[in-house]
């Protein structure tokens, strides 16, 4: 194609990629497409729409050369809703308050066990496989929501930006493989699945638990909140 034919398209692209409209629309469209695929597959756990949307958009960004900050300038309007959505997790927790109160002891034990196992095994395995100390300090808080993980890793001498990446990857892995693992282990209680997903895989796991049922969602919200606080208070002491 001669240059004159490409020029108007290039101009349009430069214009569109600078408006929030473009990345917002593409994000929603990609997510809806994967959600459709997920439903068509009979909700196959490996076709998790979050994981595949992130991968698709990542490839689109790399392929088009659109830098992430330019993409995020538009997509931040979706990202912003995470705040009020987190507050809204009080609603399922409220509805399940009696069940939560009845299982306070099991919640506390599963919280400590899950939190210690996830962080401890990551550090131990990472050390055994030759990762350096900075990387281990960056990995340790990966089970909690990213603002806490970034702050904790910074306090411990890790790399906050990379900690946020590990948080996201942990969430995706948990959402993808957690339900398969529970099926293999024959875990039947929704509360157990939810709590584990919340404690170990924070918000992304909680979003996945919401899709199991409201009980799993409520226990996930509880696990996420509790592990966030426990990790923020305890981990910097150990580092």
């Amino acid at each position: 194609m001669p240059f004159e034919a490409i020029a108007p398209w290039r101009e349009l692209w430069v214009y569109l990629s600078a408006t929030p409209l473009f990345s917002l629309t593409v994000t929603l469209a990609v997510y809806l497409a994967w959600e459709w695929v997920h439903r068509r597959s009979g909700l196959h756990p490996l076709l998790n729409p979050v994981a595949w949307s992130i991968a698709t958009l990542g490839v689109l960004l790399v392929g088009s050369g659109l830098p992430y900050p330019a993409y995020f300038a538009g997509a931040q309007f979706i990202h912003f809703l995470l705040g009020p959505a987190t507050v809204a997790l009080a609603i399922p927790l409220f509805h399940q308050r009696r069940r939560v109160a009845a299982h306070a002891k099991a919640v506390a034990a599963a919280l400590v066990a899950g939190s210690v196992t996830a962080a401890g095994s990551a550090v131990a395995l990472g050390a055994a496989l030759g990762l350096d100390a900075t990387m281990l300090r960056t990995l340790a808080p990966k089970s909690v929501t990213s603002p806490i993980a970034m702050a904790v890793s910074e306090q411990m001498g890790g790399i906050p930006a990379l900690a946020a990446v590990f948080v996201i990857l942990t969430g995706i892995l948990g959402a993808l493989f957690g339900p398969l693992l529970f099926a293999l282990m024959r875990v039947r209680s929704s509360a157990a699945k939810g709590l584990a997903l919340g404690v170990v895989t924070h918000g992304i796991g909680t979003a996945r638990a919401m899709q199991i049922d409201p009980v799993a969602g409520a226990f996930a919200a509880l696990g996420m909140g509790l592990n966030g606080v426990v990790t923020a208070v305890v981990l910097p002491w150990l580092g």
């Binding site: 994000t27 979050v50 992130i54 958009l57 992430y68 997509a75 931040q76 979706i78 995470l82 009020p84 507050v87 809204a88 997790l89 009080a90 609603i91 002891k105 099991a106 919640v107 066990a113 899950g114 196992t117 996830a118 962080a119 095994s121 990551a122 395995l125 030759g130 990762l131 990995l139 990966k142 089970s143 904790v152 930006a161 990446v165 590990f166 990857l169 892995l173 493989f177 957690g178 529970f182 282990m185 875990v187 039947r188 209680s189 929704s190 709590l195 584990a196 404690v199 170990v200 895989t201 918000g203 992304i204 909680t206 996945r208 899709q211 009980v215 969602g217 909140g225 606080v229 923020a232």
Partner: protein, 115 residues
């Protein structure tokens, strides 16, 4: 719906203010969640506008993580050097954590919660 959304934002704002003021190591929205519970428990029910707005957001909670998730590509080069080791560490530790946490809960909660 609009009342509910406003209430959620106001609670988040209150959470942010308190957390920053006292330098607590908790994100503002999580504190907002605690405030929301503190209001809902004595009230004994969820007001309809709040249930509507909150329900809408929570039904699409997965979508809200996509923009931050795409941020992984921004760190691709850093990950490339040791992606295999990191992948193994993340996968194994996540599955171990999930297994132990769910197992401990089921043992202690007993069979009556096998819903």
């Amino acid at each position: 719906m609009l009342w509910g959304l406003t209430a959620l934002l106001a609670l988040q704002l209150a959470g942010e203010v308190v957390v920053r003021f006292f330098h607590w190591p908790v994100p503002g929205p999580v504190m907002g969640l605690v405030f929301a519970l503190a209001l809902l428990l004595p009230l004994g029910r969820v007001p309809k506008p709040l249930e509507e707005a909150g329900g809408t957001l929570l039904r699409h909670l997965s979508l809200l993580f996509v923009p931050a998730g795409v941020g992984v590509v921004a760190h691709w080069e850093r990950l490339q050097q040791s992606w295999l080791v990191l992948g193994v560490v993340l996968l194994v530790s996540t599955l171990l954590g999930l297994a132990v946490s769910a197992w401990v809960f089921e043992r202690l909660a007993g069979g009556e919660d096998a819903l």
